[in-house]
Symmetry: C2
Subunit: 181 residues, 2 copies
């Protein structure tokens, strides 16, 4: 499978089967994360995996309460991964401060993309979730108060979802320019 | 090449040959970007490619002035790509506001990862750059004042760099947890 096919195979999956996800598949996704680039090579992330069914159920309850709305589906995912943003290196933090950009959030996106693409290659489905109760999730997972958890990823074996097709995309003309904006 | 090999093959390349990069290779990277997921499918990005040698030289001068320090190498890259952060969809912007996270920066990271992984598959080298003169770059490329350009990517055919090996990475134990932080 070439990369373009892999990028196409990766879909945001919102229906999962009950079949458990083996730890070695999860580990492979984490190895792909580990190779991701980051500003000043700070690698400002920790991926916290919850795959124990009972604990996963409790985490889902904390994360996706009555206000979770469209993320309710994630309660059914057999694995929930919470991406914790670690303190950046001094160089990266200083760069973020001086440039007014949050390099670490870009880094989190890069690492999460590696995770989801590796999962797709294994036939696993993922969905990145930004909308959840971060305060409760952090408490449940004992994440240090000073750190943020900006992203969760649901993971599992996809069930064909007859309700949704592939997401639409902007035309290529709208996402690129040559020579200038 | 499986995904883990591809992730390993992608290196932050800081030495490029003079050989030009064909447009169809750049287009392929942009097609991979187009498939990237984003919060609420907002796709809040535009990739502005500068590959004309003279214009690329001018952009490099604007981007990497005397203060560019360790990014001086990027002046030699035959292609410079500037990632402009477009306005998010209403849903994504509202989510960012309510959650105190910048979903769009995470999305930029995901899209940039797609670009660099596709480039690596084609044998091309890339380096993501967060440290450049954003004000001058935006003016040079006629980017609307209201938009940010948080990231640049250098692109070209790598030249073996005897000075640097692969970047070090944290051990897998430091970047993952099971059950809790």
């Amino acid at each position: 499978m070439d990369f373009l096919d892999l990028a196409r195979a990766r879909r945001s999956v919102r229906k999962y089967s009950d079949r458990p996800v083996p730890r070695d598949a999860i580990e492979r996704c984490l190895r792909a994360v580990r190779l991701a680039p980051s500003a000043c090579n700070a690698q400002p992330w920790r991926f916290v995996v919850v795959d124990d069914p009972e604990r996963r159920r409790q985490l889902a309850r904390a994360a996706f309460g009555p206000l979770a709305g469209f993320n309710h589906f994630a309660r059914q995912a057999p694995v929930l991964v919470t991406v914790v943003m670690e303190r950046a290196s001094f160089a990266s933090a200083a760069g973020s401060l001086l440039s007014g950009k949050r390099f670490s959030l870009i880094d989190i996106g890069i690492a999460a993309a590696h995770f989801c693409l590796q999962a797709a290659e294994l036939g696993l489905g993922t969905c990145m979730l930004g909308w959840f109760n971060q305060r409760k999730v952090k408490r449940f997972l004992s994440v240090p108060a000073a750190l943020k958890a900006p992203l969760m990823i649901s993971l599992g074996w996809p069930v064909p979802d007859t309700e949704t097709g592939p997401s639409s995309r902007k035309t290529i003309e709208r996402v690129r320019g040559y020579g200038g904006y």
